[in-house]
Each structure stands twice: as C-alpha cells, then as structure tokens.
C-alpha cells in the first residue's frame, strides 16, 4: 500500500486544504518524500541550492508577504535533512543568516510530502507543529504553504507565508497563494530551460 493511501484525497483544484493530522501514514509519506532520490536530484539539477539568491523569487516572496499582510514570505527548498530558503522576505536574526533549519522543524515538509497545501491557523494549537521549536521559540503562529511541484512531478519545496498571530486563510487566499506559487515554479523551471 502506498504511504499516501490514507492521506486525505484531494484534487489539484481543491480550494481549501484538508486538515493534516499526525498519523503513521503521514510520517511515512514525509520520510519517503524527504529521501526520494529523484526529487533531491531534481533540486540539485535546477540549481536551487546555489548561494546566489534569485532576485525574482525574492520579489515573489516579498510580494506574497505584502499581499497577505504578513511579515514573512518564503521559497523553502526541502532537502533530506534541512530546509533551505532559496528566497525569503521578513526573516530576521539567525534564520536570515543561516537561510535554513533542520528539516524536522520545517512546516513546509508537510506540503512536500502530501503535495497539498498545508495551512496552520494557530501553530500553538496545531497537533503537528505546536511543539516545533519555531513555534515555541520563534513565535510562528500562522502558516500557509503551497507545494512547488515541478513539471516532472517532484515536490521541490513550498511557497509560503508566515505570521506571528493567529489567522485563517480563505479559499480566495489559497487560490491567490497557488497562483503565486505557480509563478515561482515557472521561474524555477526556467533555470532548466536556461
């Protein structure tokens, strides 16, 4: 049985994400996705780990944060043991300096594993992330992330917005975030063409 089999079945056009809850199936899906060698190879081949920040992705991250009135926008590339911020707006302190965290602290890994939007309205009360160090010590409260899936079907990371206070995301919000994530993916795919 596929590790994805017991995850919520959602079509690509679903407007709002299903709640993602802790489960053995989710754990298995996360592990499988993180260590998917074809996915990791695609990340490498697309040059997403270069030190050079992509100015266009950077603008997408900033504009997404501004659109949603949230302080942080991110293009997070999810590797097997860390997440790497290919572009970011609004991160401060050590997160901006390091441009990454251990993958176990990554909210984005859930979007990568399920290939579905991952939304947290209040991280302090969300079963998957309430004990996350980024919730406890960095004050993350709301998060909405869209998986960035390449044309070859690999989930590279997540395009997300983050804030320090509880908030909900409407179907229109998610549609807008999907549009922005699609633009980011197109930009990433252009690296392949270039």
């Amino acid at each position: 049985m596929s590790a994805h089999a017991t995850l919520p079945a959602r079509g690509p056009r679903a407007a709002t994400p299903a709640a993602v809850e802790p489960s053995a199936a989710l754990d298995a899906a996360v592990e499988a996705a993180l260590h998917d060698q074809a996915r990791l190879r695609e990340i490498h081949d697309l040059g997403l780990l270069s030190e050079e920040v992509d100015a266009i992705l950077q603008a997408e991250a900033r504009e997404a944060a501004e659109h949603f009135g949230l302080p942080i926008g991110l293009v997070s590339v999810v590797l097997d043991d860390t997440q790497y911020f290919a572009a970011q707006h609004g991160l401060g302190d050590w997160l901006a300096e390091q441009r990454g965290t251990p993958v176990e602290w990554s909210f984005c890994r859930f979007a990568v594993a399920t290939k579905e939007a991952f939304v947290v309205e209040n991280a302090a009360e969300h079963a998957l992330v309430r004990d996350n160090p980024l919730t406890e010590f960095e004050g993350i409260r709301c998060y909405a992330g869209i998986p960035m899936v390449s044309s070859r079907g690999h989930a590279l990371g997540s395009f997300c917005v983050i804030g320090p206070t509880e908030r909900s995301f409407s179907a229109d919000d998610m549609a807008e975030l999907r549009r922005r994530a699609a633009r980011a993916v197109a930009r990433i795919e252009a690296r392949r063409a270039g």
């Binding site: 780990l49 050590w94 996350n132 919730t135 010590f137």
Partner: protein, 105 residues
C-alpha cells in the same frame, strides 16, 4: 521542584550535532582519517582538546569547510544549518535539554 517542560526538540526526535556526527559525516570521504581531519581543524580553529560546546563545534566545522574536507558543499551547509539552529535556540534561552545532545545533558 517543578518537572522541566519536555524539550521541544526531544519531542521532534532531535539532538544537536556533535563532534562524533561531524567525524561520521567526514568519514564518507576521509574514511579512517576523519578523526584526524577534525583534530587538525580543532588545531586550526584554536580549540583545545575536550568536549566541544556548540560554539566551538561551529568553529571547528568552519575550519573543516575551509580545508575542503566536507564530502559536498551541500553536506557542509546542511551540517552548519543544523548546528546553527541549535546554537540559536541556546542563545534564545531554550532549555539545555533542547539543544544539547543527550550525552551532554
């Protein structure tokens, strides 16, 4: 005495990287010489023998990076990101059990 709050990182099955982790990573390319590479890096970083704090381990790791001894640039960055994340928690006053390896708590 109040029982300490369970460590967030422990709940996530995490522990801060250690010198042993660094040696294990380097052994992928340096083989049995990995421990020697780390010893040389300690010397280059001016870190005396003995248990390493997270700050000292970062100095040693950067010396290893400077020596070009990591298997890949990605592995070097990933190690530094993981190390730096725990250092950040430590500097933010997170409980010791959150950011120290189990052996060091």
């Amino acid at each position: 005495m109040t029982a300490p709050r369970p460590s967030a990182a422990a709940a996530y099955g995490l522990a801060a990287p250690t010198e042993a982790d660094l040696v294990a990573l380097l052994s992928k390319t340096a083989g049995a010489d990995a421990a020697g590479v780390v010893r040389q890096a300690r010397s280059a970083a001016g870190v005396p023998p003995g248990p390493l704090s997270l700050d000292a381990l970062e100095k040693v790791t950067r010396a290893v990076v400077a020596a070009g001894a990591f298997p890949t640039t990605v592995s070097a960055r990933s190690f530094l990101v993981r190390l730096g994340s725990f250092r950040a928690l430590a500097h933010k006053g997170a409980p010791r059990s959150t950011y120290l390896s189990p052996a060091a708590v």
